[in-house]
């Protein structure tokens, strides 16, 4: 629609302007046009145009219409025009400016600002009256934590920005707005700390965002997929979070946050593999416990992709590696099961994925049913009926739980698990090893905005493990000054 009305200009006559807007918004009844005429001054005559539901009626009537209509002319006008009087004295709104560019006027109107047109003026006064309803700030749904701040981002960009701003009270914190999506004109905001951000990465990000050719941006997830380095990888190279404290921490380390209007998920770049395992609660709890939890998460991810593959290779190929007693009990459990172990394993894993997907989508009121069917029918009854063996249920159940440990990388975990499982069903423990080495090569070859994805992996240097494998105590000098540390780090990495 922007392109359609590019050539139009505002007229001096209010009637003509009204006709113009009616033509432009024909068929859109939410656009309201209200005439007004001053009771005593017949030349003070005009209209306000706004979109119903996007503006606050309170502001509109109390701060704009009432002062204008109740204006009593005083003697020392000094020949000021009505427009000057209105802007300088009468209207009580914080944000107002003039424009005669149709493009800008329409965008403002659509974003919930009010236009005020006066007879004899070929420009519009744009008044910030946005006042739509949005969800109130609530607990983060996807990143639960026992300790630490409780609030999470909402769908409103301004509210989200205020949550970041409140945490980093510094003039160094910069917000850069852009508009994306040809039809939706979605506002996005790049947020970074200027003294630590890498200008190279920032430039690259802006280049990528400007190069996007997309009709509509409805959520940050779309953006996440379109600006990443390696479109074919399962591992994300752009992070997302709904915790304002996590965003604040990340931008203090020199990362760039991308907030998208309408999405409670904020993107952060560059995103490294280790960030999957860093939870913001780690930084608020006891450092022994936090480090322990981190290691548990690493172990969990390793198990999530490996358990079925290792089980298959131990049971079908490398039986000698298992203690005899354990092997015998597994063999006894498998005795009456008709399916080959590999088929059994694939089947049960698929069943688990079905349960998981069903559990995510169903309304909460019938959630009970799924857990009963899952636990009793597919677990207990299937074993009793000798459709699957009991060890397989344990393996699949445990695998499922370990996936939930790092829920953000579940896509990558699930696919890697199936890949390793297929390989080890061909070549036993060697197939698993080949698959693991292949996975390591793949991860090592990834980059996020020019930064190696596995930046510190495989290194035992103190500076490389203090916030990756472990979470070192805050009183250590190395963590006290995150800004200067980050600056050095970035200098080293962005070559």
């Amino acid at each position: 629609m922007r392109k359609l009305w590019d050539k139009e200009r505002l007229y001096e006559s209010v009637e003509q302007n009204i006709a113009l807007f009616k033509r432009m918004f024909a068929g859109d009844d939410t656009v309201k046009i209200r005439h007004f005429r001053h009771p005593s001054l017949s030349s003070l005559y005009g209209c306000v145009i706004y979109i119903d539901g996007m503006v606050s009626h309170d502001t509109l009537s109390n701060n704009i219409l009432r002062p204008v209509l109740s204006y009593q002319p005083v003697e020392d006008d000094d020949g000021h025009s009505f427009m000057e009087i209105i802007t300088d004295w009468l209207i009580d709104a914080g944000d107002l400016h003039f424009s005669d560019e149709m493009d800008h006027i329409l965008n403002s109107l659509l974003y919930g600002e009010t236009l005020l047109l006066l007879e004899g003026q070929a420009k519009a006064l744009i008044i910030g009256t946005q006042g739509w309803q949005s969800r109130s700030i609530s607990d983060p749904g996807t990143e639960k934590a026992v300790l630490g701040p409780r609030e999470s981002f909402t769908e409103s960009l301004t509210v989200n920005l205020s949550m970041v701003r409140r945490r980093v009270n510094s003039a160094d914190l910069k917000f850069k707005f852009m508009e994306l999506g040809k039809t939706t004109n979605t506002r996005i905001c790049l947020c970074y700390v200027e003294s630590v951000v890498s200008p190279k990465i920032l430039k690259q990000l802006i280049k990528r965002l400007e190069g996007l050719d997309i009709e509509a941006i409805l959520d940050s997830g779309q953006l996440q997929e379109m600006i990443r380095d390696t479109p074919l990888s399962l591992y994300e190279t752009v992070g997302n979070t709904e915790r304002p404290d996590a965003v604040a921490g990340k931008i203090l380390e020199g990362r760039i946050a991308i907030l998208v209007d309408g999405s409670p998920f904020t993107l952060t770049i560059p995103f490294l593999f280790v960030e999957y395992f860093q939870v913001s609660e780690d930084y608020y709890s006891n450092y022994f416990f936090a480090s322990f939890n981190r290691i548990i998460r690493f172990l969990g991810e390793f198990l999530a992709i490996s358990i079925p593959a290792i089980y298959i290779s131990l049971v079908t190929y490398n039986q000698e590696m298992m203690p005899t007693a354990l092997l015998l009990s597994i063999a006894a459990a498998r005795l009456a099961v008709p399916l080959p172990t590999v088929v059994e394993c694939f089947m049960m894993l698929i069943v688990f994925e079905i349960l998981r997907e069903a559990g995510t989508r169903i309304p909460t009121s019938i959630g009970q049913a799924v857990s009963i069917v899952g636990a009793l029918v597919l677990g207990q009854a299937a074993v009793d009926a000798r459709v699957v063996s009991a060890p397989m249920v344990i393996v699949v159940g445990f695998t499922g739980i370990t996936t939930l440990l790092n829920i953000k990388m579940k896509a990558a975990s699930i696919f890697s698990r199936f890949l390793l499982l297929s390989l080890s069903s061909f070549l036993g423990i060697y197939g698993y090893l080949f698959g693991m080495i292949g996975l390591i090569i793949h991860l090592m070859s990834l980059h996020s905005f020019g930064v190696p994805y596995m930046l510190t992996a495989g290194s035992f240097k103190e500076e490389d493990i203090r916030d990756t494998v472990f979470r070192m105590p805050w009183w250590q000098t190395s963590l006290k000054a995150p800004l200067s540390q980050a600056r050095q780090r970035i200098k080293k990495v962005s070559r």
Partner: protein, 367 residues
């Protein structure tokens, strides 16, 4: 395409894994029997000047690999002949390493699976990492080396109870000639094989002098080989070592902790897989880079897949059986490798020194 740069540390890890390579499976200096550890120490000592010479060649022309230097120093035709020789050596060595792994898989791990299958898997991994570039190889190497070290340490702890120092005695029972023979064999395989690394390497960031990389890797890689050899002799005794093809695998098979941790040789073959994979990748990268240089291709990446698959086929055709492989590695290889490992690199160094001196003299002195 931007130039790939690796750090000194990454170059060192690649070289250490390369030196460990197939020696982890086959063992080194078998001729010297109980004294093979002395042979390995001697071989390391002999390797020092050779490694120094290689490093010197690379240091003279920073940012270039052996193929660039050969073309620059020896002129177009002799340079291309030199490149061709090394393409063959890298290609053949890759196939030999792969075949070692294949024989190992067929003899010990998967007797019923055709040897080509695991070999093709390792080749696929090698192709993957070579196409991803030397940066990826360096970063993966760091992680894989750590995995190897951890595994070796764990195995050592588990095998502690089985170490018999008496197996090392009597020292020098068979006399010095055998020790020297073993030293020569250990020098040509694995230490001097690292000449291929000169062709795979590209720019290295940081210090110009590369001698440190080579000597450090020789020290660490050699120490690890020495450690494995000593462990194998002490666990198995020299008579058993003579009777098995793959001593490390047999030594780990002896582990039994409380009848619970036993027969874990399958899981320690992670070390074999990693080392063989790394060695094959370096050979493949050197061969591909050489081919790209020979035919003036823009990027070596376009020939990696073909070279890799051909390596796998050559490996499949190399020997008829494991006896032939044993004969080749023991008696022929150490002589076959001498020109590639010593004569040609040293002559390249000689010509490079002469050429740089002459270039410096002809250049007007800036003062």
């Amino acid at each position: 395409m931007d130039k790939e740069v690796i750090s000194h540390g990454e170059a060192r890890t690649i070289l250490i894994l390369y030196i460990m390579g197939s020696t982890m499976i086959l063992g080194a200096a078998g001729e010297a029997k109980t004294d093979s550890w002395i042979s390995i120490l001697l071989a390391m000592a002999i390797a020092v000047p050779i490694y120094w010479a290689w490093a010197r060649v690379l240091t003279l022309y920073p940012g270039q690999n052996m193929f660039d230097i050969a073309l620059h120093v020896l002129g177009k035709w002799i340079g291309k002949a030199f490149i061709l020789i090394y393409i063959w050596y890298a290609f053949h060595l890759g196939a030999l390493v792969l075949r070692n792994f294949g024989e190992f898989m067929e003899a010990e791990a998967m007797p019923e699976t055709p040897m080509l299958v695991p070999m093709l898997f390792v080749t696929a991994l090698g192709i993957g990492v070579v196409r991803a570039g030397i940066e990826t190889m360096g970063r993966s190497g760091r992680m894989l080396l750590n995995m190897c070290l951890v595994t070796m340490l764990l195995v050592f702890l588990l095998v502690l109870g089985k170490l018999h120092y008496s197996n090392l005695l009597p020292i020098l029972d068979r006399g010095w000639p055998r020790v020297w023979k073993g030293a020569f064999s250990a020098f040509s395989f694995p230490f001097a094989e690292a000449v291929i690394f000169l062709g795979a390497i590209s720019s290295i960031k940081g210090k110009k002098n590369l001698t440190g990389i080579f000597l450090y890797s020789l020290l660490i890689g050699g120490a690890l080989i020495l450690f494995i050899t000593l462990r194998n002799i002490m666990v198995l005794g020299v008579y058993t070592i003579d009777n098995v093809y793959f001593p490390s695998y047999a030594a780990v098979g002896r582990i039994n902790v409380g009848n619970f941790i036993q027969r874990i040789e399958g899981s320690v073959s992670i070390v074999f897989v990693i080392c063989v994979f790394m060695k094959l990748s370096v050979c493949l990268m050197a061969a591909s880079k050489g081919i790209a240089k020979l035919f003036s291709l823009d990027s070596y990446r376009s020939v990696v897949i073909q070279t890799g698959l051909l390596t796998a086929y050559l490996a499949y055709l190399l020997y008829d059986n494991i006896m032939e492989m044993q004969y080749w590695t023991t008696y022929i290889y150490s002589i076959y490798a001498v020109p590639f490992e010593i004569l040609l690199p040293l002559s390249l160094l000689l010509f490079a020194e002469i050429k740089t001196r002459r270039d410096q003299r002809s250049k007007p002195q800036p003062d």
